[in-house]
Symmetry: C3
Subunit: 154 residues, 3 copies
């Protein structure tokens, strides 16, 4: 095993990155679940595989469902926020942060993103979703500061 | 060169990550190719650069083409699946897996994603695309298990 | 601190990756800013939080604004190009490139992506946006070549 896994900070980074990436990955099956449940497909071959028998019934199955679109927006927001966290988090974990500070960053980010998904999917009234998004963004910005403070080469 | 590149597992991770990221990157030019070929643009400046001479012809060039949208869905699916593979794969490669097990994970993932793109772009009848997507997802989940098994710090 | 941060190439990778990821992250707040300014929302709870008082006014606030869509396309293009740069750049930085060559790659990529955003958001007439996109893609392809040249394990 790499010596990296013997560093507690790196181990914490590995654990929380995996948790948020796993959360993000689950949005894919969730989209599929609601596409099938709501009978709202976007590709013709999907309509044929889920009940279409002729051109008419195919057309009825190829439609946009508001809740499917909501799940997809939640998924896209994850892509926009979780992936930068994972990339910057790696640099941050290698930049030698204090263990408790680093773990606090990772915990707040993971909690904010899980709450963000709940707020998006229920949906909860604003500003729940907006605030959880800002908290996650704030954690990432704080890690950006940590990375740049550790060293810069322009 | 970093000592990481002297690890066979890391070298395999590097090779297969690069292959799938390269496959994903090619979706960009492919979208551009079909936008030009099908004369289906979304930004006004693109319409002006590709044949629009007045407001009327510009409006005709700014339209949604079903095949361009298909290429874009394929691209987005790559973003949703290939990037988590690359992020989790890095942790997995550093967690000390057996070389042959790791290479098997990487090979199956790369094959499943290449087949996924073919199934999306031809398109092949379902469940070809659905199954190849699930195989790739299964590989990533298996790597998540490997990473968490190697060590957790909550 | 990890010994990685004592490598100049890795430090340059860290600096430029952080810069382009930060640029990408700012697209999120920019989208939110224009959604509020243009009163163009996509989720009902956002419309209620920004002035809707009844079903009628809610419907008027839930609409697609061309400039908001432009910002979102710019953001998506960042996801498609900046994230692969960051992933491949890490492997490239670890593959032992010449410092000045590596820094040149990173600088050209960062400049091309910043110019790409300006060209998208002003917008500038084509081919400004197209060329800046191609330059960034070219840098990434060049790093792919560097990674594979450093070692392959299939």
């Amino acid at each position: 095993m790499s010596e990296m896994f013997s560093s507690e900070v790196f181990l914490a980074y590995s654990t929380y990155s995996t948790i948020v990436l796993l959360k993000m990955l689950l949005m894919g099956p969730l989209t599929g679940y609601f596409r099938v449940k709501r009978k709202a497909f976007v590709s013709a071959e999907d309509a044929w595989a889920h009940g279409a028998t002729d051109e008419e019934s195919k057309k009825q199955l190829m439609r946009t469902d508001p809740y499917v679109e909501r799940v997809r927006r939640c998924h896209r927001n994850d892509l926009e926020n979780i992936i930068p966290f994972v990339s910057i988090g790696l640099l941050y974990a290698l930049s030698g942060p204090d263990l408790s500070t680093a773990v606090m960053h990772f915990r707040i980010f993971a909690a904010s993103r899980i709450f963000h998904s709940i707020a998006y999917l229920v949906p909860l009234p604003q500003p729940s979703r907006g605030l959880s998004w800002m908290v996650g963004l704030g954690v990432t910005f704080s890690m950006v500061y940590g990375v740049l403070k550790a060293g810069v080469h322009l």
